[in-house]
Amino acid sequence: MNRKTGFFGKLLIVLVLLYLYVPIVVLMLLSFNESRYNSLPFKFTTHWYQELAADTELINSAKNSLLLAFLTGIVCMILATFFILGQRYLAKRTQGLFNSIVMMPMSIPWLIIGLSILLMIRFMGFSKSMFFVAMGHIVISLPYSLLVLRARVSSLDKSLEEMSASLGASPWTTFRRVTFPAIAPAMLAGGFLSFLISFDNFPISYFLMPNGIFTLPIEIQSSIKFGFTPEINAISTIIIGISLVCLTVVGLIMRSNLKAMLGGKD
């Protein structure tokens, strides 16, 4: 490769990164700007964060979102683990069939999934409730947990589990002492990914949320309708901050676990 393409390649990467991250950085900066209308000059303030702390509606919707996402993350983690470990004992063809069924929600627009669940609820005579919202979130988040776990489990040496059995361990002991330590980081990472998908989700919640209850994305969307306040910038900045912290923690867990497993060569 000559120097010219090398230069343009790098330039392209820089441009793409700018395109991706400049808006986010601007948003974060503006959350500390005094102007109500996001206008310059920049004057530092934490006013909008104080305002936020007093905004019970926003805080309540954030609580709803966190609860929902937490539930979704946990349920997806458990379901995905059962599914991935169990499907190994199916015939190859059945495996493929099951896989396509559970991965399907990934390729169907969430809007349509939300709408169809809503129709189903109506049809069966139920009213909207948090239960159905959670169900919807689980349906669309599960594939992400599955993807992460599948990658790990497929590289897992099945002979480890067979070895454990041959040494006298019951299936439960084998899971607890051999399988689980090997897949725990992937379970966590998968669960976390599902958490984020749920936390982020707008369409499913929009269709299924009972009247008067909001999740954070819905709250943000509706408050933008009445004017874009720097409060939204502030809450977004907090969300980004939390996401970054969580990602770092998961990254550290996965790495340290990997190191512990391989005996810490360094």
Binding site: D157, S159, L160, E162, M163, S164, A165, S166, L167, G168, A169, S170, P171, T173, R177, V178, P181, A182, A260, M261, L262, G263, G264, K265
Partner: protein
Amino acid sequence: MAKVTLKGLTKIYGKNTVVDHIELTVENGTLVSILGPSGCGKTTTLRMLAGFELPDDGEVLFDDEPVGNVPVNKRGIGMVFQSYALFPHMTVFQNVAYGLEQRKIPKQDIEPQVMEALRTVHMADFRDRKPSQLSGGQQQRVALARALVIKPRVLLLDESLSALDKKLRVEMQTELRRILEETHVTTFFVTHDQEEAMTLSDTIVVMHDGKIEQMGTPREVYEKPKNRFVADFLGKANFFEGIVTETGEGTVTIDTGNEKITIPADGAEAGEKVLYAVRPEKVKVFEKSEKPAGRTGIDGSADRFVYKGNITTCTVDSGSMSILSEMNSGDERKDAGRNAEVFVTWEPEDAIRLEE
């Protein structure tokens, strides 16, 4: 430590009968090699012994007790896989202790037993290492210690040495033989390496297409192979096949379909269809000028004498067939040069009459 019997053991995958009604009895304390090319059903047989696979027909008996309903974790087997399958997140000590813990052995008794097992395989100094910090040979020893410490009734080794390099493999073979003689446990060793099977086993079982072709001591199987497959798979062999037209004093004349050849052999009558195998190390090569008088053999030209260290090989082309000879390099120098006119012969009893 148990006597192991396989009764009509069969495994079918879809349309393939992978293991086809195997009958086998192995006495207590014997080391049996199951030898065969890949896909012959040897690993499936081992996995049925272990309980990882359920037979479609027939059964496995330990000490005359059927174990069909006994799950893997209650069978009392010790196993060593080709990949060793050491638990990566546990130390050497924890790996070896694992099986004892499952047996609810009191904590204070576990440590001495683990250390003794580790000493047997010369790995006591490595107790706190993780598997990733060990070499292949060391991992193999730990895997063996882990399988032996639980005092299994039957030890199952699945291609356990094939991941090692040649020198280490030979070392481990000797080591394994010593350890197994000390522990006296009934052992099944699955391998595709005939040399390894010869070195290690009391009994060799040769498998092909899901069936047992032959079983016997290494010497029996090598020197008295039953059929073409066994003769060919264990070592090399020259084959002579056809209809016997006449017999003489230690000679048999065979019509191969192309020609009539007379070879040194016994035990056939005119009109019979025969197949003889002659091991290359039994084939003697003479220069034409030194051809011994009155001996039966085949004339031909030697392509080239290949020096291979302990042996020297040469392929003799008789015009219609080629005959391989392996001579001891230590013997007087046999190199007659390229394309030399030679005469090959062997003792009549070295021509092994095969079934097929």
